[in-house]
Symmetry: none
DNA sequence: TTAAAAATCACCCTAAAGTATGAGCGTCAA
DNA sequence: TTGACGCTCATACTTTAGGGTGATTTTTAA
């Protein structure tokens, strides 16, 4: 859509130029006929043409050249929850298992160990074991630190 | 590599202009020949000069013009940490004091109550009292929930 | 100035979290 | 098949977190 109008506006210049050129040529022709200087001042004539057309070329080029600088800064505000992509590299680097990640996510939602255990149909002790391994792998001492670190590393949203 | 085709597509108008010019000149020539107005040699010469210098002008303009148009499309995914603005309305609505907010922030950084106490030069019991009030105001039961809720409400980054 | 809110701290108790160690079971690749 | 790994669970213990209550001292606002 923008291409079409763009092209038109550019072509308009071409058309204008063409008209201008025609007028100019006819003017020159008229001058020729009027003063009959063709044979005597040929160099002047040719020089004029050269200068005029050079200027025309420059004008045309500048006119048709693309706008100087278009800096489109597209700011995309998207919430983390929408944007979140799990950093699998980090995950495998830290060697965190699926189950551990699951526990970590529930932990970050504010669930207690008991609640996590109930949700995952396992015992409280199992969750504690997962936690211990998680803290070891994330090199932290508390669940709050684990959450903080995991979020920073894009392991959880 | 891509420059050549790029140049062509970008300067389609210029090429079109050249063709238009040629057609125009030939048209004029044809008119001349048809009506036998002038000597042919000069016309061809002048036309050549016009074409050459127009091309020169275009070339000059394009060559000397400022560096190619820079079109930057910058997608800025603004991170929470950069964007964070404290929701003061929520804060006053919940009636959370400055000190409590301070404790909440340190809490969210993964610090233990003891560490927070040391950092703020107060006793552990004081922190516990702050916590209790915080949990009450945020209507949560655990620090992890407090952090989760506070982040959701934009009370902490 | 005076009441209300904020900040401080203590004590006691319970609940939850975290540590350490050991072990059973299933899967999957070498 | 064997050994590494993941998941599970247990017991025992320590530490931290949280609840309840009461109290003192600043700060702040009416």
């Amino acid at each position: 859509m923008a291409n079409a109008s763009n092209f038109l506006s550019k072509n308009k210049s071409v058309v204008l130029y063409g008209i201008f050129l025609a007028i100019l040529l006819f003017l020159l022709k008229w001058l020729e006929l009027r003063f009959m200087i063709m044979d005597h001042a040929f160099e002047i004539y040719a020089g004029s043409i050269a200068i005029i057309f050079t200027a025309l070329g420059i004008w045309l080029a500048l006119k048709l050249a693309r706008p100087k600088t278009i800096l489109i800064e597209k700011k995309v505000f998207i919430e983390q929850s929408e944007t979140f992509v799990l950093d699998e590299k980090e995950l495998s680097k830290l060697n965190i298992s699926k189950r551990e990640l699951e526990v970590l996510q529930l932990m970050s939602e504010g669930l207690s160990n008991q609640e996590i255990a109930l949700k995952l149909f396992v015992s409280l002790n199992t969750i504690k074991t997962h936690n211990a391994r998680l803290f070891e792998k994330l090199e932290v001492k508390r669940r709050t630190q684990a959450i903080e670190t995991a979020k920073r590393l894009s392991i959880i949203p």
